[in-house]
Symmetry: C2
């Protein structure tokens, strides 16, 4: 097991379930207080009068050790009395809200209504839950992912949850992004001289990472960052481990392959972590590569992928003797 | 067992737990669709961004058969995951909200925000829960009970739940009452020619019934009602079955006795149901009396007290041969 990088802070860009797995790996291999996770808020929506931030909450629960071990979303030891009662009242039940999860939505809605920023709220909750990483929304301004499909334009959760990603995606639009500002905490995290690595987590590039990149300053902050930007492939062969990445890539006209993801990120990234099963694609990726088994089933997997990404960043940052103190 | 009155509608005025017991008795002995319960909303408040209406909800749960069998408030088969999670987030937990109960608050808050009236919302929920009685708020306008105590002025729930009625009450104020209108459904229920009885349930006269009476039109509607107004004593000897009635009466300078309750209601009532254990007080009540065991432990008790109150109303309405078809 290699020594861990301890020479600076690391920033991760992440969506929900898939991204949070690697965020947890990074959190575990890095020293405390050295990770900032910038999280997609394009999936956020108002439902039943409550502000729901699925990706931020998944990240919180994952890093706090509260996440449901199988589902990847929601809380462990959850109960569902609220949903059953809501159903008996004839209300909307297509978006499942667990009883414990609801506490976060109710508390957030209350505090945002008192003009607390989303950044401040998530920061306070993360500290309260004992998380020693910064979890920050990409923006405190509303950005809402809209999905243009063969069934018309849909809100993200309508498409993703209510219609289970069944409509074919024609294009995506990030409503509000053009007018949004990168959150101060995200900007500060990217704009520090001692930054060691920026890791783009293996979230869906189109649904989860693109909304982050759609906030105007974000690309320039990434380009000016002192550290290399490393993306981790969300694909193994033609398959995403979870979720509709492969289906959407096909619908948007991309070849379903890790190389397409690297191509999609283009000159934004300085390095790419490819699954070792996709070794034959290595020659077609235009940036320096690391290869590992990217399938993250247990904690050791999450740590392994985190180490691979961090090692590649270190290599690119300090291209000295290949066998340096990685 | 006497025949039931079937010749008109009945209106009950009620607060929470104690009143709902008799409302259930009336509901069970009357034909379907003939009871209207006008419920106190002075206890309503906004908490965690949710509109909570404790007395309306207790009435709904009680008549729907969903009430907690022992507590008298909240739902049966309730779970408490939300409160535990809320506590872990460091939020306010002095007001206990069950997971199932929460569905009603979330759904109400959402629908009131869309300009649905409280009357319309409660009506829709009552129908949805299969209740064949009308449950109507005393007013659709906000009335908030404020408690002047030796610890200063308190909101009702602060006094009642947070401080467990411990401060000594100096006086009560029903904020908003002067400007409030009786809800149209309550006014219509009281203003019908075929009305058979108005029953003032054995709720706390000062905390639960007075806010209803504080809405300006309410007293004149009761005085002009075609039916006799019958109050049921909330006291047995010097004790209230539940809640702080006796303590508050003492603090407000009243002798703790059923006669004081009758005196407090004054010329608003035409008849009074006294507990048979208080027989020796009978001579000091200025209105016609019925006597029964008013302790409502099980369903048969609730039905017995309901029948006693309805029989007294019938007697006063139709003072013919004493042995008529009651």
């Amino acid at each position: 097991m290699s020594a861990l990088p301890t020479d600076g802070r690391v920033v991760a860009l992440s969506g929900g379930v898939g991204g949070a797995k690697l965020a947890l790996g990074l959190y575990r291999v890095l020293p405390p207080d050295s990770l900032t996770v910038i999280v997609n808020t394009g999936d956020d929506f108002d439902h039943l009068g409550l502000r729901i931030c699925p990706d931020l909450d998944t990240t919180l629960y994952t890093l706090a050790g509260l996440a449901h071990p199988e589902a990847g979303w929601g809380r462990r030891d959850e109960t569902w009395t609220f949903m059953r009662a809501l159903e008996s009242l004839g209300s909307e039940t297509w978006f499942r809200l667990g009883d414990g999860d609801l506490a976060l939505h109710v508390e957030r809605t209350r505090r945002l209504a008192r003009d607390e920023s989303l950044t401040a709220f998530i920061g306070a909750i993360a500290r309260r839950l004992g998380i020693r990483a910064a979890i920050v929304p990409m923006s405190d301004d509303p950005v809402r992912t809209r999905v243009m499909t063969d069934h018309g334009e849909l809100g993200f959760q309508e498409y993703f949850v209510r219609l289970r990603c069944e409509p074919a995606v024609r294009s995506l639009r990030f409503e509000g992004a053009a007018a949004a500002n990168v959150s101060a905490a995200a900007a500060d995290a990217l704009d520090q001289p001692g930054l060691a690595a920026v890791i783009v987590c293996p979230s869906n590039p189109f649904l989860s990472i693109d909304p982050i990149l759609a906030v105007p300053e974000m690309r320039s902050l990434l380009k000016q960052a002192a550290a290399p930007v490393i993306a981790v492939s969300p694909l193994i062969g033609e398959h995403a481990v979870k979720g509709p990445t492969a289906k959407i890539m096909r619908e948007l006209g991309w070849t379903v392959a890790a190389t397409s993801v690297a191509e999609h990120y283009g000159d934004l990234i300085d390095g790419f972590v490819l699954d070792e099963r996709d070794r034959e694609q290595a020659g077609r990726v235009q940036v320096p590569l690391a290869m590992t088994d990217t399938l993250m089933t247990g904690l050791p997997d999450r740590e392994r992928v985190a180490r691979a990404a961090l090692a590649l960043a270190r290599e690119l940052r300090d291209p000295g003797p290949a066998e340096g103190p990685v």
